[in-house]
Amino acid sequence: MKFLGIIVVVITGALLVYTTGDFPSWSDPASPASTHVSPHYIEKGMHETAAPNIVTAVLADYRGFDTLFETTVVFCAGVVCFFLLRIPGRSPFTECQYRHKATGITVRVKHDRKMSGSFGEFERIDTLWTPHDLIIQTACRILIPFIQLFALYVIAHGHHSPGGGFQGGVILGASIILLAISHDLRTALDRLGEKAHAILCSVGVLVYAGTGAVCMVLGFNFLDYGALARILHVDPVMARSHGILVVEVGVGLAVMAALIWIYSNVSSRGNYDEGL
């Protein structure tokens, strides 16, 4: 197999290198890629969508349909991870460990029924538990709100600077994952439960697809944000700009929820009990 691999790789690579001879030179402003379709975006994008960041304009408006399905891909990944890994309900034979906060004594409980939450002086700990680092926990607690604030900025400011729904959504998701890593998965899940992941994920995509569907109901084509002008009482160009913002929010929601959903399924192997 290794030998076959080397042969395939060498032949394919050689053929690909051979074809680079006819490529347009790298970073040539006169190459077809830079002269056919893209100048329209650069020169007209601002006038047609009122979004100075052309990448955002193309992403969420000119090629907004791609982006809808791109968000759907993330949603798909979330659903697939859940579908494959989630073990519904907790097995009755799991062994749980509780630690007495004041003394540090660990109690191992078999056949766990309804222990969690009922013991104020005890805290549930992971099987492979090491004492939590106070500095890390505190630093993360302080940082996470700022990370989330920055994420909101990235989503909202996608029109004017690099950023947008995906980037902001990823940062939002990462902030929660940071909480899960610095504390444990259960802490993160207490803040935002599994059902919330699942529903937020579909709601995010629904916001996007729904915006498109509203345009359709108003008699325009799917995702033609110009239709929103009637509802928002602005001119069609500004309506496009607002439409982009709405779908970016949807994307942000979907990406955030999907990332946390994937993380909690993959890291806990689907039992949502103990994570990394």
Partner: protein, 136 residues
């Protein structure tokens, strides 16, 4: 000689993408460990991202965000004419944003499947799995 050099300068990053892609392809074909294969697939996808971004490069151009005054955002404020040559080609960047997201999603699904494989067979080495299947 100078022709060769100019051709190298004009195309070397396309060769780098090919090298990267072939490393990924080799990992998928030649490696036995399932996680290494997943990494190979990811390298392969990254190589394609490098390729697309190379297409988008434009000499002497800046990032594709139209320079606009502090008033911000309102399409009436841009008085000067925008030249396409001033800004990078935005389209490959948009496409690659999509491809990155797809790569992440694929990675998540592949890892979930790898966990399922591990739960099922207790190993991630392909030949061990196959021998276990044969014994069964």
């Amino acid at each position: 000689m100078s022709e060769i050099i100019s051709s190298v300068v004009a195309h070397y990053n396309y060769w780098i993408y090919i090298a990267l892609m072939m490393i990924g392809l080799y990992a998928v074909i030649g490696k036995k460990n399932l996680i290494k294969k997943i990494i190979g697939v990811n390298i392969f996808q990254t190589a394609i991202i490098l390729f697309y971004v190379s297409i988008g490069a434009k000499k002497g151009a800046t990032i594709p965000i139209i320079h606009h005054g502090p008033g911000g955002g309102h399409h009436e404020t841009t008085a000067s004419v925008i030249e396409a040559s001033q800004y990078m080609n935005p389209l490959p960047h948009v496409l690659m944003l999509t491809a990155i997201v797809v790569a992440v999603a694929t990675l998540g699904v592949a890892l979930a499947l790898a966990i399922k494989v591990y739960n099922q067979y207790g190993t991630l080495e392909e030949d061990e799995i196959l021998s276990r299947i044969r014994v069964r």
